[in-house]
């Protein structure tokens, strides 16, 4: 890639979301808005290498997109189109000619971006479609980049994007950021997308493609944008807090061979203090807002308890157990209970943890999960019930799909025999 092209790509990365958002507000169709923005990019790639990047590239791209839109609409033969389409396009054309982009207030641009996030994460779209559309329109990632990040084919992602845009168009989803009760209702589907993007990157091991690893940074960026633009939503700050703190552990999560290192065994000197401080600050913001803590804020509070402990032995397990209990109340799940059992065992002794495990023993969701026998084995071992512990580790070894983990579990069973 030439230097000029790279510079244009950088401008594009910065401007594309705002551009698509501003255009979508006018044409009320994110698919059409994206096409128009792409037209402007093509024009920039033609012009800028010769003229240089203009002083205000965002305004240049917007003006160009607007002109292309007007050309495009005029070129198309009217008689071929349905009445309703003509009406919509005429309305859009009218809106375009009237609106003055450069004069648009900062707040309005902010709202446009928020509207774009909410539209990309609309609940009528599948989770996969929401994730792909968000990375495409807000992250400015290309289709091949999204495909690489999600270890799937370009064709699959391309089709997913086309269908998502079509679904939004056909449902005539208005391009706006929801307010009031609707905001509360729709925020979780946005937060979920940001969290999924982060986890996809978090699951990647150190040696993998940068596109995958960069998903964590991209999710953090999206989360921060969301929190900056909806400052009164505690869960937006809670999610950012969770991601900043989890992100702080990225360098400590894998050994030199790429093998995962469990939280309590991690070298805390490798945790990123800057992200921890940022996470704690975001959590404070979530906690300072009215209302009980939501699931992301609670998970962030748990992550923060680990982050505050300079050494693993200093962890406040009593507090963590209480936070897991609060989380189990608003978001019951066997996995949360499993974590709570670990915390109870650390805080009050193995019997307390085992008691909870007995209650979730029959959970169908955990029937073939190696974590249940593995946690039970741990607690039994701590209680001095070595024989029972060994058989639990063996059972866990049978259930895990991970070869390294199986070896580890069998080795633990061995030492207890």
């Amino acid at each position: 890639m030439t230097e000029a092209k790279r510079a244009i790509e950088a401008v594009w990365r910065i401007e594309s979301a705002r551009l698509v958002a501003g255009l979508a507000r006018m044409v009320q169709d994110v698919g059409l808005a994206e096409d128009l923005a792409q037209d402007a990019l093509v024009a920039a790639l033609e012009r800028w290498p010769a003229t240089g990047v203009p002083d205000n590239p965002g305004a240049w791209l917007m003006a160009t997109a607007k002109n292309r839109a007007i050309d495009r609409m005029r070129r198309q033969a009217t008689y071929e189109r349905k009445q309703e389409q003509i009406a919509r396009e005429t309305g859009a054309l009218f809106a375009m000619e009237r609106s003055d982009f450069e004069a648009a207030a900062d707040d309005e641009i902010g709202d446009d971006l928020l509207a774009l996030i909410f539209t990309c994460c609309h609940p009528l779209l599948s989770r996969e479609a929401r994730v792909a559309l968000t990375l495409r329109l807000l992250g400015g990632l290309t289709t091949p980049e999204i495909a690489r990040a999600f270890l799937t084919s370009e064709a699959t992602i391309a089709q997913r994007l086309v269908r998502a845009k079509k679904a939004l168009r056909e449902a005539r989803v208005p391009f706006e950021a929801p307010r009031g009760a609707e905001l509360d209702e729709r925020l979780p589907s946005v937060l979920e997308v940001v969290y999924l993007v982060f986890n996809e990157g978090y699951a990647a091991s150190g040696g993998e493609d940068w596109v995958r690893r960069d998903l964590c940074e991209e999710a953090l960026r999206l989360g921060r944008i969301l929190a900056e633009r909806s400052p009164r939503e505690p869960e937006a700050h809670g999610l950012v807090a969770l991601l900043e703190i989890q992100g702080s552990r990225l360098a400590a999560r894998h050994g030199p061979g790429g093998e995962p290192i469990l939280l309590l065994d991690q070298d805390r000197g490798r945790w990123d203090p800057l992200l921890i401080v940022r996470g704690l600050r975001a959590l404070e913001r979530a906690e300072s807002l009215p209302g009980a803590l939501g699931p992301y804020s609670l998970q962030a509070a748990i992550a923060a308890s680990h982050a505050r402990a300079i050494r693993a032995e200093e962890t406040d397990w009593v507090k963590i157990a209480a936070l897991y209990e609060a989380l189990a109340q608003i978001q019951p799940s066997p996995i949360v209970d499993l974590n709570r059992a670990v915390a109870l065992g650390m805080a009050f002794g193995p019997e307390a943890g085992l008691e909870l495990l007995d209650q979730i023993q029959g959970e169908p969701a955990l029937a073939n999960n190696h974590l249940l026998p593995s946690v039970r084995g741990d607690l039994l071992k701590k209680a001095g019930r070595n024989e029972e512990a060994a058989s639990e580790f063996k059972r866990a070894a049978e259930l895990t799909a991970n070869e390294r983990e199986r070896e580890l579990l069998l080795a633990r069973a061995e030492t207890l025999a």
């Binding site: 790279r6 790509e9 950088a10 401008v11 990365r13 910065i14 953090l220 800057l274």
Partner: protein, 128 residues
């Protein structure tokens, strides 16, 4: 990727305190960085005479108090940002409302940037 942007203000020490106007423009810029989700940290620095310099010669440390006549260019502040490429960081730096100044954009080392022996040394000395 992280980038440090160092601001060299190109002013004399007596003019160090910025005008309200300049602060306002800079705050708008900082806010834009924050709203783009890329700002990790930033600070403005007091004039060099409020600080000092420690120089080493053959392992021997010497402390010098300011002001520093010989120091033509001194850092006035910095931003630490997250960006997806050097070009993106440079583009952000070029949007700073500067008059006569210089911004140096430097990428932060990641552990993987080091050769294996350096990584091993980090592991041994600071790990565990």
């Amino acid at each position: 990727m992280r980038f440090m942007m160092f601001m060299y203000p190109g002013i004399e020490e007596k003019d160090w305190t910025p005008t309200a106007e300049a602060v306002e423009a800079m705050s708008r810029y900082n806010e834009e960085l924050r709203k783009a989700g890329m700002l990790l940290s930033l600070d403005g620095l007091r004039p060099p005479s409020d600080g000092g310099v420690v120089s080493f010669a053959d392992g021997e440390a010497t402390i010098t108090d300011g002001p520093f006549a010989e120091a033509k260019e001194v850092v006035g502040g910095y931003w630490l940002i997250q960006a997806r490429s050097k070009e993106e960081a440079l583009e952000w730096a070029s949007r700073c409302p500067g008059e006569n100044c210089r911004i140096e954009v430097r990428q932060v080392f990641e552990r993987e940037d080091f050769p294996q022996d350096v990584q091993d040394a980090l592991e041994e000395n600071f790990g565990g």
